[in-house]
Amino acid sequence: MTGSRAAHPGPRRHRATRPLVRRLLVALRPTPRAALGAVAALGAGILVAAGLAAGSYAFLNSQAVVTSAATIKSGNLGLTVRYGAGAAGSSTTIPSTAWGAMLPGDVVGQQFTLASTGTAGSTLTARLSASSAWDIRIASGTCPAGQLGGAPLSTAAATAGTIAGGATSTFCVQAALPAAAGAAVSGTTADFSIVIDSTQVPS
């Protein structure tokens, strides 16, 4: 028996080396899943290659740049009011002494200045913050000798002219004690406030 084993050493050596090759072959043997993966990888490779060379597949085409790049800035709208030598601001007070001791039929005007502090032109409207026994009128320009035309102000906004962007304009406000004022008004004092709104208009 020993002799017969010693007589066939070859096959044992062959069996000893063959598993290594077989393992390699088994590892490299294409399975259906591996084959599908290889096909997918190949397809992806072709797509990537086609994508990289996409220019050559396009239609005739050309493009040019419209050099319109610019910074565009918006303007603004602002309105200040100033009486006499006072400071311009969002409100001003006209001293009541100008309108002291008025009698029925008297008309007294005072001038003030409106300034547009923005770039946009606007229309102006004026209204009284509260109704008054006195007739209050407003108009652009210096005060006339007589009474301003038009209806007296009420608490509803009424058109009072326009002002251009950055412009300054003189306005006149007139208070008139109606000639038909009742005796109850005699000796009374009435404060009034005028609200002037500016609304931007398209240039």
Binding site: V66, T67, A70, T71, P202, S203
Partner: protein, 185 residues
Amino acid sequence: MNKLTKGAIATAAGVILLMGGAGTLASWNSSANAGSSQTITAGSLSVTAGAAGVWKSGSTTITPSSFRIVPGDTLTYTQTFNLVASGDNLLFTLAATPGAISAASAASADVALAAALTGSSTFSVAGSNIAASSSPNTYKVTTAGTTVVTVTMTVAFPYASANSTQLGAVSFGNGAVTVTQTQTP
């Protein structure tokens, strides 16, 4: 079979193979040139910018950096382009896209102004080298040559925009004009 016989057979086979390619052994034949040689030249399609454009507010030329836009304003930027097209059957579409509007900074006025402004673009074609086709913005080359395309970018600030848009700044980007060949007339 001895070597001599094998050699004889191989030689005979070689001779037969060689004779197979001999023209003189073919059937009667003749050939003539069909037509004469021709040069075939491909057409072309390209668009290039002309002179720098002009910004206007209405009909007044402006400098955007010093202009202050207010609600109700419409600014336009007009630039000409040279469209060179040749090709007997060349159809193409022409398109102009406006520049993008973006706030110059994160400031609320800039953001509000960028939201209020709208950009658009139009173009017009002058000349008879190309003719409008039945599809929108599609043209066909009638004569090879240059056609002037005038592109207008418009920035509109709607009237009655909010006060928050005052003193804002936005960046208006470059636009683009594109020509693309098409097969649909």
